[in-house]
Symmetry: C2
Subunit: 416 residues, 2 copies
Amino acid sequence: MITFDGFVPVQGGVCAAKGFTAGGICIGVKASNLENDKKDLAMIYCVRKCNTASVYTVNKVAGAPIAVTKKHLALTSGKAQAVIANSGNANTCNPDGIDIAEKMCKLTAEALHLSEEDIIIASTGVIGQKLSIEPFETGIPILAAELSELGSDAACEAIMTTDTFKKQFAVEFELSGGVKCSLGGISKGSGMINPNMATLLAFITTDVYISVPMLEQALKFVNGVTYNMVSVDGDTSTNDMVSVMASGLAGNNRITEENEDYETFVEALYAVMVNLARETARDGEGATKLLECIVRGAPDEDIAKAVAKSVISSSLFKAAMSAGDANWGRIMCAIGYTDCEFDISKISIELASSQGRIIVCKNGSGVPFSEEEAYTLLSEDEVRIYINLNSGEGEAVAWGCDLTKEYVDINADYRS
Amino acid sequence: MITFDGFVPVQGGVCAAKGFTAGGICIGVKASNLENDKKDLAMIYCVRKCNTASVYTVNKVAGAPIAVTKKHLALTSGKAQAVIANSGNANTCNPDGIDIAEKMCKLTAEALHLSEEDIIIASTGVIGQKLSIEPFETGIPILAAELSELGSDAACEAIMTTDTFKKQFAVEFELSGGVKCSLGGISKGSGMINPNMATLLAFITTDVYISVPMLEQALKFVNGVTYNMVSVDGDTSTNDMVSVMASGLAGNNRITEENEDYETFVEALYAVMVNLARETARDGEGATKLLECIVRGAPDEDIAKAVAKSVISSSLFKAAMSAGDANWGRIMCAIGYTDCEFDISKISIELASSQGRIIVCKNGSGVPFSEEEAYTLLSEDEVRIYINLNSGEGEAVAWGCDLTKEYVDINADYRS
């Protein structure tokens, strides 16, 4: 895990901030979950209504839970008090999907003594399979009674699909006047990961007091440089959603404009979201290593972003990385097919890991390097690719993972 | 192989048309080729100068051979008399790449008693590795002396990289006045296949008499509905090129406008190029089956093309197909993230093969179907996906292949 200056990583995940409890249980959304005791229902609750912001998938085939969450946040002008989320079924492309999602919210509202529109809902799993309400009728009241400040772990587990480890991270920081604040979150990813204006599932909570418009602005900005810069397989999911709930219980001066507190808040949000995003890339389906592509010297930031994402999305480059093969020609190829203009003959490329750093390409052409040294370097589980376009000041970072046979294994057999 | 009404498939490949000879030999472009006796140098020759058209990769990192071919065709206003092509090294991102490509043309011109600018040149293989001129100095004169009307097979073999079978196809047809004409070609593909305005390598020859502008128009159109609709892995290569050489020896009236003869010529070109393109998809790296996605009812043709390509490019859908899993939610997902507008709730999806045809999605939602029947159907080596957007008259077809563990195997180890 990386840390950021001024931010102290703390335990607690989505319950690190004041006012939040969470939990996760196995209710058998799909039959095999019962057999494996795989948690598949998560709940997050706050003692008071939170200012809330969300970003969503741009996929036109958006899941029913996305539609319901959007409706609720519109009705409340950005207030929410609880999250209900299941894995094992995406509740997408079902004729009765909206109805099921609304019933899930109703059950949650009843169990927590809230109104339906106070609930944010999310589902992840297979698309186009009927979702039965029955397990939720039994499970939601049980889960509501079990919520605890130690429940982030269980909630995090319950939203996992093919994820192999939990993604949670939280930080503590100070706003003006020495007010101590917390911000933390949980996330799931693994496959169908190529977020665009939103991503996968991530739920973030904070006790900072901040207006809805400023919260939305902060989330949109930070999402653009974290989750939107991650790709596992180029497939933008139908159910991506990132939500931030702010309880306001820290006692800071309300943030309503771009002041110093706002900047600190954005940095804290970045610290948490960049960690969750990197871990999502690291845990891409079948992945054995995290790829971090740092682009500098682009004509502008958009071009830097496009180049960085193109490289970490190339199947050929990702396959080479799985074998620790310094096939930098595939990096050049992926740079070359981005849809933007710059001078190819100025490009330099370096490969790096904890084992060192080597230059493989200068002025757009190969330079001699030790294949052995490159292999050692690329055998680490975190590899960095530094690309300098030497054509301006634009910078960006993107995260991905290698492409392995296990990706095919997992996805040839995901529904069963 | 599919055939088209009015077109008789014939033998001879790139030598089917009058005036053409070809050949291929092993010269050891890379050392392992000598060990395996893998042919790696191809030549095609015509007894007279041909009107010639080419389309090229849109990758900004274009190989040196692309630059040299463009220069030559510009100098001659679209005339060429021979092709020299090697596999085993892409001659791309090399500081002396242009120099080497020009030397290869010079050697070919000397051996065939032509001018350098009469030569079209292409290279395919690893990017960013020095290409030595020495094997060409010895090999080109030998190959020039061996050219024959039976040489299409050898030339086709010599341009193969990870291809597992030869792609060649030719047809005979009649133009007005009962003039018999031929048109045929050879092609290589396999990986780094996501052509855009051009593709992989394909050399097509014909004895039709046609002006350069009409030849260019025909190639551009047919390429747009054949090679540009193929994707193996989404990686647009640096060295894609399709060239058509027309000797004019058939004796037909010169085609200089969009008359009936032009239409027949376009259909013949389509018959050959669609066959080569489909075979390229079928032989994608690691592929076990050909996927053909037929989109109908789109608001316009561009949207139909975008949807068809999105589906056959989805890693998740391709992985599901490798296991014969009717995971149609991934088709919906890939339709949903295409960057164009239409009504998702009108979509229907059917899956088909020689084993039958089943409907899996109607009005944007799943319909019950037999998983067993679907599995049987999808176990065939040619699978068709019919998508109707029910939103207009636009139609398109795209071709791809399944994603298997062998793709990763091949590409984790391609340079060695």
